[in-house]
Amino acid sequence: MNITSEEFFKRQTTLSEIGNEGQQLLQKAKVLVIGCGGLGSPIAIYLATSGVGTLHLVDFDTVSVSNLHRQVFFKTEDVKKSKAEILASEVKKRAPFTNVSFTDKAVTKNTVLDLISNFDVIVDGTDSLSIKYLINDACVLLKKPLIYGSLYKFDGYVATFNYQNEDGSFSCNLRDAFPKIATDIPNCEEAGTLNPIVGIIALLQVNEVLKLITKTGILLVNQLLIYNALENSQFKMKLRKNDSIHIEEIFKNSDYLETYCETQDASLLISASEFLKIETKNSTEVVSVLNHTDALIPFKVHQKIPYRTFNAEDFNPDYDKKYVVICKKGITSYDVTLKLKEKFPQLTIFSLVNGIDNY
């Protein structure tokens, strides 16, 4: 079939904000998408079908079954195949005016500068905090605009970082919001999410790229937009340049390797199977620290102390009991266990490993 770009992009060029001029800017643009998962896959497809002329996709990973609920451009038959490769082939099937290529290797400190140097706009669709900083810092060093997106459960974050103003200065970047890579964030396991917020954040990133390239609308610069899918609430945090941050030095001195969860002290932990053996004993005292006191718990609970109001000072220890503290994921229960052990060192107390979720 003979498909003309006039016909393909008719519904865009009819917009006075875009026109043929805007369409040509898109055609000439070179965009790099790093990460081809929940964010990266719609980003790549929507950018290509918008008419971005050159697109390069990067992801080291292969498709897994638990990706499919939110990475909707992969099909069941794609499981175990390269994400970047499959996504590039999906782009080809629907975007005849886009030149698409891919890299199926991880981005590292050694490769990042070379990788981004040939592109006009960098889009971050990765799911690793340290790689997000690596990309941010590299964009600052090479003066590239970065379209940032990320999420946790129902909260999605979006921003356009390091955009060059007319006076030559650059807008805020990730380190103006979060100066250092937070280590020790309590929950390192994948938190889970529903697919709409992932798609919404991806499309807000696409929207930034199109606005930036076609010089239309107002970019999300010097701010961080947060969208919450449970309440449809939008929050915009205004940012300010932090002059005490020297990214060139940081880049030189960092290795950008993953940081890991705090390791929990094994002597304060009880596994689900061990707990099963003692849970019905009279000497066992189960303490729930769930905030929702009416949550269904699959075993008997003797005390409910919502974490929100927990205070070690108020606790009356019974030294004849063996305490097991439980919560959903084993994070807040561990925290309570630590505090009680600190205050009452003679107490026999354990946190249920990985919480009710793993019971």
Binding site: G35, G37, G38, L39, G40, D124, G125, T126, D127, S128, L129, K132, G149, S150, L151, Y152, K153, D155, Y157, D176, A177, F178, P179, K180, A182, T183, D184, I185, P186, N187, E190, A191, T193, V198, L224, I226, N228, E231, F235, K236, M237, K238, L239, R240, N291, H292, P306, Y307, R308, I331, T332, D335, L338, K339
Partner: protein, 80 residues
């Protein structure tokens, strides 16, 4: 004085709600508030790596909080 706290990302899980009223001494700074929150919710111990916004504007630890301010606790997120 009373202020409003908003929580985002992991802090919603730690605190169990995404907003709450909170009472604070007159003249308290963002730094003071952080310490009070860590004391109450020890899992917020990384709060110094989080962004704090007052009335949607990023603030430093030295900023003084005033009555009815909306103070948002914004941790980094990493999902993609």
């Amino acid at each position: 004085m009373e202020i409003q706290l908003l929580f985002f990302g992991i802090t919603t899980d730690i605190v169990g709600v995404n907003k709450m009223k909170y009472t604070l001494k007159e003249g308290a700074t963002v730094g003071n508030l952080k310490k009070l929150l860590i004391a109450k919710y020890s899992a917020l111990k990384n709060i110094n790596d989080f962004a704090i916004a007052i009335n949607e504007e990023y603030v430093k630890d030295t900023t003084i909080i005033t009555k009815n301010d909306i103070v948002a606790i914004i941790p980094p997120v990493s999902g993609g």
